[in-house]
Amino acid sequence: MADQTTETLRRTPLYDLHVEHGGKMVPFAGYEMPVQFEGVKPEHLWTREHAGLFDVSHMGPCFLFLKDGMGEPGGHEKISAAIERLVPSNIAILKPGQGRLSVLLNDQGGILDDLIITRMPGIDGMLYIVVNGAVKVQDWALMEEKLSDVASLQKADDRILMALQGPKAEAVLADHFPEATDLTFMRCAYLQKGDEKIMLSRSGYTGEDGYELLLPNNAFGTGLVKELLADERVKPIGLGARDSLRLEAGLCLYGHDMDASRDPVEADLGWVIQKSRRERADFPGAERILKAFSDGPAEKRVGIQPLERAPAREGTEIHVNGERVGIVTSGGFGPSVDRPIAMGYVRADITAPGTKIDLMVRGKARAAEVCALPFVQPNYKR
């Protein structure tokens, strides 16, 4: 992302709406995105108490489907076998409309991205996948290169992808889509309203109950977003609060809390690799990853609770007795917990919650301790 200012920044279909609502626009992942509207803290707190609307159209929604045999019996098994070449999760076991978090791996078992993979409801042989905006071009190129023998990829990042998050999200959305109430966490419905097609999934990245909607980039799509924003329970939320919300929820940000140098066990995402896949050992980098499971990783991602008021930002060194034992990968201030919070990687012998550490903030050692994640308990509707 060197010198983004010289690149041509893309705009999402909701750009004009952001400007209209007073969004402060900044370059992010190749797009002009709103970093905040009324302020990070009030937007964060609003989302935890009411409902926040996030434009995530910069991300990479796509559909991966069989070239032959779509809709036929065994279609889901075939498309699952394809994507399972690149991810270590059990996709074949998903029920129609069910989604799960996984990671895209390189041959060394390093994490190329995290992604949500959902079995398309109603038709066998198709997956709905959402990857991160900053790496979508590489992700898609990898899928096309490695899976082209059986699967085709349809990119959907020209549409509107938005999230509605918070305890009032269900009531707000049910006014538009009664089907929303029936979904539980990580379940997805494919809706058709007249000629318009909508992917509605009960998911998000704030730790709150809520939904992500893939909408057509047309008057229907923007019209729906406008109607949602006109609801007094809903406010537009910028990237700043999206970051503080996901950090409180203990969720990883790709490129910060994990990257190609980290495997899923180090990143404390070993749970995305189900037992059946561990036994089959048939995913990229299986040797390294299974060794990390059995021997324990050299470093591991942990929660970090600063015990003083100074926030420790990304890149802050973690010391014990003057020796460097780790690094902060995300850090800031949690408006809901009303104190600084962070996460990062520490040496294996430092990972126990309660272990005292020093955060080297601007040359000064600030007291902190390793803690369990998340900082705020999730409110998912199971």
Binding site: V35, Q36, G39, V40, K41, H44, G240, S244, R309, A310, P311, R313, G332, F333, P335, P340, R362
Partner: protein
């Protein structure tokens, strides 16, 4: 007593050879909710434009530069427990430190209130 402003949104209110330094209302609004302030301690000395303090919002940490050269006579210890004072009263109780100017000539290049207002309107 005269107050001067920098292009980096610090203010300095000068009385004799001592100045009180803080960040402007404009800067505080741009930062949003201030959650931590690191002010210099008495005895610290700075050249004009040196990093002198740090102010952190939910979003990010920002450096505060010394508007003039000099030696700090007092840091505002109240901000440690009440960083929100910087939002509530940035050009009053939210002051960062008091500084003994080494050269009052440093003030010459700074803006007065009217010039600073015009400067902000152009941003």
């Amino acid at each position: 007593m005269s107050t001067y402003f920098t292009e980096d949104h610090e203010w300095i209110s000068v009385d004799g050879d001592t100045g009180t330094v803080g960040i402007t209302k404009y800067a505080a609004e741009q930062l949003g909710d201030v959650v931590f302030v690191e002010v210099p301690e008495a005895g610290a000395s700075f050249g004009k434009g040196d990093d002198m303090a740090v102010v952190e919002s939910v979003k990010a940490a920002s450096d505060v530069y010394a508007p003039v050269a000099g030696e700090v006579t007092e840091g505002n210890g109240d901000l440690a427990d009440a960083p929100e004072t910087v939002n509530e009263d940035p050009e009053g109780k939210g002051w960062f430190c008091k500084i003994k100017l080494s050269d009052k000539g440093d003030l010459d290049g700074l803006m007065d209130a009217d010039a600073y207002k015009t400067f902000c309107e152009g941003l």
